[in-house]
Amino acid sequence: MLSRIAESMFWIGRYVERAEDTARILDVQTQVLLEDAGVDEEQTCRDLLASMGIEPEDFPAALDIDHVLAVLAYSPASAWSIATALANAREAARGARETLPVPLWEVINTTYRSIPARRFEALRPPYVFQWVRERAALINGTADATMTRDEGWQFLMLGRSIERADMTSRLIASTTLTGGTGEQWTSTLRSSGAYETFLRTYRGVETERAAAEFLMLDRLFPRSVVFSLGRAEQCLDNLGDDPRRAGFQDEAHRLIGRTRAELEYGSLADLVADLPDEMERLQRTCAAATDAITRRYFAGAEAVSWKGVQL
């Protein structure tokens, strides 16, 4: 498969997942602000933007939830917004259009079309978050049902898995940043669609520690960090043609595998004690793995620099 197309598939996976997870994170935070009068709005917003990787010097003097929603949800000019993620996913899909199944292209295109048509910004929370989750489910489901499991699919899944590990870590970080009370963990679990599963798994015993453990380490829950990293490893396995004898030649595989093993074999107490730092470390791993994948598989797509010759 063309390197450029592989890269597009990877980023379609990432951007769709990013849009969905940003919606999930905002859903939790807007609910917390609404339901708990004791929460400091400005501090919550500050922490939330920081957890999404936005530098404090980019914050305005008076920070409120409307500003956060503009930056993270609505503004097509903001690099972090859901609008931008959906537009980028569509742009990547447009560049790989001949390789996508037609229904997949159409569902991505119609999703995107709500943005220039201004239907997207007319949606208010929490409906907008629900809409984004539904569209992402539609896109993922269509891909799942229509794509052959070739390289293109592996790259799509790889992008989705890495983004999901990264975003789940931000979801966890944003919960702990706002104080991490039991109720907030409940909201976080709910926004991940995991609350009932979590209750059943832990037989109704809700603790913050258990919630963090579930979101990070559960091997069966598809949004957990460990599950996502494992899925990414699987994709890299399917893509690489290394004969499995000793170690991993592939840099991305090495980075992701090591981090997953550290999470799984580390002590939960240590992990929970320093959640924000651990989550930041995880995000750095995801970024480094992306660089490694880009170098190995997409580098062929780098623009040719042609120095004009005098004829």
């Binding site: 063309l2 742009e91 447009r94 001949e98 390289e151 893509l239 997409f298 797509a301 780098e302």
Partner: protein
């Protein structure tokens, strides 16, 4: 008479243009079923279908780009119908023309007997901006240079199809022929069911077969790619559709690299060889080594790879000399010269401003003629005399005198009209027709129908999409006559079998 067509055209002053559906108040025969079927529909019903049609094109992303802005390609809901006999003439005319153009190009880039024999002056070719000496040494693998052509036709005041121009470089629009058919089938299912229409969906397979047939000798299973300038190109939708429906890679210049005289593409598993490039990039951007050194749309080394016979470029480099509008004026003679036949499809009458006598007449009649720059495309630079101001005509006169070779003149031909649904009502709008032909070396196949472009503004004669033109689904009837005949014959045979046998027994 259905209410929908009532009063069609009568509000307008009588136009000299040929209307393809109505002859005065009388309906022309190819449109009988269309009128009957649509006649059962109310205007609100039609409007709701038009709206659904437009929405579906946006959702599917059936678009073209103008200056980076992506727009849905406008498709009128009323199809244009062409009956079988008329189509047969077009088909053989296009085949004849492509054959002559192939022979002409082969001659131009080789012996040049057409010049020696005085059919066309050599300087007409050597002064053409599309003549590339680099192409002279490239021998096409199966002799084909014009793998795909789009011969633009118009229907004149008398209803005769005439050739307006030849496109043998990178003719576009065929994707809309295919998507238009599917969209109209969804919008007017009951109407389409009542017609027997020759299908258009087979185009990509024909094209792929022709491209594979053009592969360099000795390549058993050639790799074909479509080369596009990228997503911001006006025709990107088409490039993607063709690649997808042929099941081949759509590559950009940056995906390609030339290595030891071969063209390779960059894949996740390293470089992979490419044998046939269906390029949708103009010559000038194809290879910075030979053409524009500042272009990165193509790939350095591609021309040398083609010359070495390792890759086939389709269409061939240098074809532009054949669609130069000045060469067009010689085409009837070129057909007679190579084929010894009269042209099946006539040209539109044309004056060459390079000829002193013709120029004098043209300059006298500037205000009644259409002046066209010979190397313009997409309606660029065209001046319609009767609609131009005195200042425009004076400026034009200066340009023609300064560089007469660059201009041709034609009478204002009233392109034929077809009823078109604009702003909630039907009105006559001017159309042209671009049939697409694919040459696989053995045979030139003409896609039944082609792209009908329609000028959506009232009275507008320029139909290009860059001027706000739209399109119509174009139906070539398989002849409801012959379908019925076949049915009748079958019935007769069955009836005959039944009736003769008792007789036989008796």
């Amino acid at each position: 008479m259905s209410s929908m067509f009532e009063g069609y055209g009568t509000v307008e002053p009588a136009s000299p243009a040929y209307d393809e559906m109505f002859d005065g108040d009388a309906l022309r025969s190819p449109y009988l079923r269309l009128r009957d079927s649509l006649g059962r529909m109310t205007t609100p019903e039609l409007i709701s279908r038009v709206e659904a049609l437009q929405a579906s094109y946006l959702d599917q992303g059936v678009t073209f780009d103008i200056g980076g802005e992506e727009r849905a390609f406008p498709l009128d809901i009323l199809p244009r119908v062409i009956e079988m006999d008329t189509w047969s003439t077009i088909e053989s005319g296009v085949q004849q023309r492509v054959k002559a153009l192939e022979m002409f190009l082969a001659d131009v880039y080789d012996a040049g007997t057409v010049f020696e024999d005085g059919v066309i002056p050599r300087r007409v070719i050597t002064t053409s901006s599309h003549f590339h000496r680099a192409a002279a040494t490239i021998r096409p693998a199966n002799g084909v240079r014009v793998h795909v052509s789009g011969i633009d036709l118009i229907r004149d005041n008398a209803g005769e199809f005439r050739v307006l121009e030849d496109n043998v470089r990178v003719p576009s629009g065929v994707s809309y022929v295919m998507t238009n058919r599917r969209a109209i089938a969804a919008a007017l299912p009951e109407t389409i069911a009542q017609h027997r229409i020759r299908p258009v969906a087979g185009y990509p397979q024909r094209l792929l077969a022709a491209l594979r047939a053009a592969a360099p000798a000795g390549v058993a299973d050639p790799t074909v790619v479509v080369l596009t300038p990228g997503v911001y190109n006006g025709a990107y939708f088409e490039h993607a559709l063709l690649a997808r429906t042929m099941g081949v890679e759509l590559v950009e210049g940056r995906d390609l690299v030339c290595h030891r005289g071969e063209v390779m593409m960059r894949t996740t598993k390293g470089l992979a060889p490419v044998h046939v490039v269906y390029r949708r990039i103009d010559d000038e951007f194809l290879d910075p080594v030979h053409f524009r050194p500042d272009s990165v749309l193509g790939c350095p080394g591609m021309i040398d790879a083609a010359r070495a016979g390792n890759v086939t470029l389709a269409n061939a480099v240098g074809n532009g000399v054949a669609d130069d509008k000045l060469v067009y004026t010689y085409l009837p003679d070129i057909i007679r010269y190579y084929l010894g036949e009269e042209p099946v499809l006539r040209n539109v009458d044309t004056w060459r401003c390079g000829d002193a006598d013709a120029r004098e007449e043209v300059l006298d009649r500037l205000d009644e003629l259409v002046l066209k720059p010979v190397d313009g495309s997409g309606g660029k630079g065209i001046v319609i005399g009767p609609r131009a101001s005195k200042e425009e005509l004076d400026e034009l006169r200066g340009k023609v005198l300064e560089d007469p070779r660059s201009w041709i003149a034609q009478p204002v031909v009233q392109l034929s009209t077809v009823p078109t649904f604009v702003d909630g009502e039907l009105g006559p709008r001017h159309v042209d027709l671009r049939p697409f032909a694919v040459n696989d070396g053995d045979r030139t196949w003409v896609l039944p129908g082609g792209l009908t472009r329609v000028a959506l503004a009232k009275g507008e004669l320029i139909v290009n999409s860059s001027r706000g033109g739209g399109s119509k689904d174009t139906w070539v009837l398989a002849g409801h006559g012959d379908a019925r005949q076949q049915e009748q014959q079958q019935q007769q045979q069955q009836v005959g079998a039944v009736t003769t046998s008792p007789e036989g027994v008796a």
